[in-house]
């Protein structure tokens, strides 16, 4: 024990007891637990800056109100940013919010030191500039500022070092333009940010902000990146509150006082149609092209010695079975024609439809190579496509010739249902129901917002029931 400090016996005893109690309550963690633990969120610590947000915020608490507001604008922190605590500096925060109401929407430029992305952070080479896009005060008095920041990504353009033969994100996945959202109300100031990624559709949620939690004045907010087709971004909360704004330079922020996440986030397009944005709960929609593709499935089993008399016709029938079952909108009452033991699969099918209605309503399939193992059995590659979540890529499925029809094998259906929480009874043959790539194995499902099947923090595990 260090002997640099006089220690009161009561304090020494208290600390010793506390240490012992904590040791007893927190069992040791062995390597096996660590290896098998699923971590679904990025835990990468923010880089340490010379002028850390904490350090600057600490100074801000001792400075005049205007200085605190300016330092808030200079800082680009993690989701929580820093907050001017109610008890420590109510006047400062008041000034920051009122100042917002007086600002014009004329773009302005502020020198920044660093930028954070979704809780992580990094210092950019050079000194990037923030260009203010908009300032808006909501009906509840929450001031929302949006900034764009151009980053100097250095000689390599920010591209990661990718080894030969490995998947590498395309250049647009390492953008030099970043959006920063700043929120302020009477109690707190916070900041959040997102790269300006390529869009998969007309708009995407680029993160949910948590503001003012510790100050007792929470605000739920969303950054939304839009294309030029979007006229309005609208957030609706469970209590009926609606906040909306026209995007500026492809960005908007909507916010509502309270901790509740929005119940709907949507955009209105130029043709007056409305598009609902996904990943409200996770708050972030990561571009599909920036995610590594799932690894290819293993090789198909070898072809059998005996092949169907008319292999082309059989191949067509197998394809038809997969396309009928895995195409949204087809009559499910006919599934018995295309699925082995279809009656036993009704319960897991209903369960998956209940868990993932959007995926079930949008599913389609691509059938790849078909290889006949015998005159009555086939193995094939197939890939399901749907909206609303992570795709599991190409898989190996099986088909059987039963009662004059080629049907999707029971085990293949159980594999697909297993991705979304459907459990087959009787259980399928494991050899014919094992998922490939990043798809979860049967029995690992933990719920629509669960983690067992997730390979990225913001992806929602999903699957689909046959139409």
């Amino acid at each position: 024990m260090a002997d640099f400090e006089e220690l009161h016996p009561d304090v020494a005893g208290f600390l010793s007891d506390r240490a012992g109690a904590l040791d007893r309550d927190a069992a040791p963690i062995d390597a096996d637990e660590a290896v098998h633990r699923t971590v679904t969120h990025s835990l990468e610590p923010a880089r340490r800056w010379v002028h850390t947000p904490a350090a600057v915020a600490s100074h801000a608490r001792r400075r005049p109100a205007v200085a605190a507001a300016v330092i808030a604008a200079l800082l680009i922190g993690s989701v929580g940013g820093f907050a001017a605590g109610r008890s420590s500096a109510p006047g400062k925060a008041n000034v920051a919010a009122r100042g917002a109401a007086r600002d014009s929407s004329t773009p302005s430029t502020i020198v920044s030191q660093a930028f954070a992305v979704g809780g992580g952070g990094f210092a950019a080479p050079g000194i990037p500039q923030l260009t203010r896009l908009f300032l808006r005060t909501t009906a509840e008095g929450v001031a929302l500022r949006g900034y764009l920041q151009e980053m100097d990504l250095g000689l390599q353009g920010g591209m990661p070092m990718c080894e030969a033969g490995q998947w590498c994100p395309p250049p647009e996945c390492n953008p030099s333009t970043y959006f920063m959202a700043e929120l302020s109300n009477d109690e707190a100031v916070s900041q959040n940010g997102s790269p300006q990624f390529p869009l998969d559709g007309p708009a995407a949620s680029r993160g949910q902000g948590y503001h003012g939690q510790q100050e007792g004045a929470p605000v739920s907010s969303y950054m939304v990146q839009t294309s030029s087709d979007v006229l309005t971004v609208r957030g609706t909360w469970p209590d009926g509150f609606v906040d909306e704004m026209q995007p500026v330079n492809g960005w908007a922020i909507v916010a509502h006082s309270g901790s509740a996440p929005a119940s709907a986030l949507e955009v209105v397009l130029a043709d007056a149609s409305t598009v609902a944005l996904k990943n409200i709960d996770g708050g972030y929609s990561y571009p599909a092209r920036c995610q590594p593709p799932p690894p290819p499935p293993p090789e198909l089993p070898p072809a059998g010695k005996e092949q169907p008399a008319d292999a082309d016709a059989a191949r067509q029938s197998v394809t038809e079975a997969y396309e009928y079952v895995f195409t949204a909108g087809n009559d499910r009452n006919n599934n018995g024609t295309y699925i082995e033991n279809a009656d036993a699969l009704k319960a897991p099918s209903e369960q998956v439809k209940q868990n993932f209605p959007e995926a079930s309503d949008t599913v389609s399939v691509e059938v790849g190579e078909i290889r006949f193992l015998s005159t009555t059995e086939a193995a094939l590659y197939f890939e399901l496509k749907y909206d609303g979540g992570l795709l599991f890529g190409q898989q190996i499925g099986y088909a059987k010739f039963i009662d004059g029809h080629w049907k999707i094998e029971y085990g293949t259906m159980c594999m697909v249902f297993g991705w979304g929480g459907g459990v087959c009874d009787p259980p399928p043959d494991p050899a014919r129901s094992t998922s490939a790539g990043n798809a979860p194995q049967p029995g690992t499902y933990t719920g629509p917002s669960g983690t067992a099947s997730m390979s990225s923090a913001e992806s929602t595990p999903t699957t689909t029931a046959p139409n």
Partner: protein
């Protein structure tokens, strides 16, 4: 937003096991001291899982324990952020701090409150040094900071604890 990296090949668990045996106690004790038994242990487990997923990087670090302390802090922030959201579902939000009811001897009740009022770093530092008997160097390694920083954390923590006893420690 990070896509999880592929785990190391299966022939490396032996080295990782040795690493965990060395680092885990100080990492767990630091995080548990800072954030309480349940939250701290979860954070330590998350940090070690992260270490396994980034094993190539971890092996090149000068002070992996200190880095994992920061990974654990990030995990705590993530966890508490998720818990804030659970308020919406009608569950009670509770930022878990150190349980103050487990002392075995009679102590001044204000000590527990004073310990909880410390910053996580101060709390971890003083519990590691004066609770577990770590040297300043060992505690600094666990928290990823210098000896002088640890000394300051401990000194400030003790001043607060002594103040709770109304002790003049001169």
């Amino acid at each position: 937003m990070e896509v999880l990296r592929a785990v190391p090949s299966l022939d490396e668990p032996a080295a990782f096991g040795e690493f965990v045996a060395v680092v885990e106690p100080k990492l767990r004790r630091a995080l548990v001291a800072a954030y309480g038994s349940e939250l701290g242990r979860e954070a330590a487990a998350d940090a070690l899982a992260w270490a396994w997923q980034h094993w190539d990087r971890v092996q090149t670090m000068n002070n992996p324990a200190g880095y994992l302390w920061r990974v654990g802090q990030t995990s705590v922030r993530r966890t508490t952020r998720r818990r804030v959201r659970e308020v919406v579902d009608g569950r009670e939000f509770e930022l878990e701090l150190i349980d103050d009811g487990r002392g075995e001897r009679m102590v001044e009740p204000a000590l527990a409150g004073a310990l909880d009022d410390l910053s996580p770093q101060q709390r971890a530092a003083v519990v590691l040094v004066h609770g577990h008997g770590y040297t300043l160097s060992e505690a600094g390694e666990a928290l990823g900071c210098s000896i002088s920083t640890i000394r300051n954390h401990v000194a400030r923590a003790l001043r607060r604890l002594h103040a709770a006893l109304e002790v003049d420690d001169g």
